[in-house]
Amino acid sequence: MKCESAQETIVLAVYGELPDDKAPEFEQHLAGCERCRQEFEAVKALSVAMSLVPSGDPPANLVARSRLRLEEALDAIPRGSWLARNWRQFGQGIGRLRGAPAAVSAVVVASLTLGGVSGYEVSQHSHASPVAQTRYSTVPPEDNAPDNVANVTSIVQEPNSENVEVVYNRLQPVTVSGSLGDPKIRQLLLIGARNRVNSEVKDDSVGLLAHECRAGHECSDGPVRDALLVALRYDKSAAVRLKALEGLQPYVSDDLRVRDTVLESLLKDPDSRVRTQAIGLLEPVGADSSVREVLHTVAARDDNPEIRLASRQVLDQIPQVQ
């Protein structure tokens, strides 16, 4: 073993990663090489020094806090949301229908359209809003209904006959009316905001949630703000991203996550209206060095001259740091 390769071998040895078959050669080398022995001691010393920053168990109250917070968040995710439930059963149903591709695609189309329709009905009603009470109604099931099928879970053919027994799950669209302040409506809007199938539902949901946040109605934490952050980061429609920005405006000062996401938008959003609006949101927090840094970058490098100008103007207005 040469000294050059010994350096790396020493690190491996100190960290218990030296392959067993290399150990004898290594120890022999160390026995005969003063320099490498010193090197070995030096790496050992580093390892001991680095251990001065202890990595013990996290404090009990941190663990408790985190667990509680997680539980609350998980509780807030509506269980068995129809899409989640149906996708999973879907996966199982597909396995069984593997030999019948036409049936599979029919079921796919059916559940997607149904999901879109029922989701849309909810949002229609929550628009029509100013009803103080929340009403629920269910669509009466039709017995001969090929339309309300969520998925098919079993097909059994009677032997020696043309008869087939099919077991399927039915979708129950439900209509709810209520005011925007009603937590049930809010929860539905949060689900609506994640609707990847029906963009009108998604856009309306985000818009309504943003409106609530902007008006300062109970957006103090958690799921609604998260939904807006997700929409701002990932939504394909610039109009939706703009609405999300509007909703997040009251939180830029206090919530660093919101601020960081708005900074990201200013740097990366493809739409100039979104970037322009982001600048407006960041004006009051110019004291933050990260905000100034991003504004400098944008003032130098944004493709859009008006945005470059707007960034410079905001920078000029920020009182100089001592």
Partner: protein, 227 residues
Amino acid sequence: MSADSLRIYPSPGAPFPVTDPTKLKSSQRMAIDPSVRATEADLIREAQAGSRTAFDALVRQYDQAVLRLALHLTGSEQDAEDIHQEAFLKAYRYLGNFRFECSFYTWIYRIVTNLCLDLLRRRKSRREDQAVMLDSSGEEIDLLTNVTDQRASANPDRELNRKILAERIREALDKLTPRERMVFELKHYQGLKLRTIGEILNTTEETAKNTLFRATRKLRAILAELR
């Protein structure tokens, strides 16, 4: 001179057994006792089928380790809490995608390390000073409270020196790239094998090894300057 005498063993709260995971087949890597492993696979399947109780049980197995890692990397209780939250929510949302192609441990750690890396990268670009470790109320945490050394408390100068050194070490760690820091953290403080580290970071053992070499070299250079 035994190299073994220097190994940093994972602290007692670590979820994983200290046996060398590379000596077991990957399918058995997680626990020595096959019945324990079977139980976890069942839990996962139950959770995938929608059981919240099963998911909660999975969380309990890993959440301390996740917090320890996040806390140590970020130095902030608030950040650690946020990462804990995001990691397990992600796990909940994407549990359906887990197809047992790796151990659940690796899968969870991947999520956490990615979140930590994102944070470290954001901090690097902020160039904020993370000189001290803060708890949730903003109070400075004494880094040495976990180190029980009665001699130190009897000798305030020495304690001060250790505090300063601990500070320097944090600063040195901050000078590493996020990836170097991550590999060093997983190796030195969490006691994982390079092979596991490679799996978690979605790279090879060889790359993890080289990153470790770079990290130790840099740390030695930085700390040497301070004497």
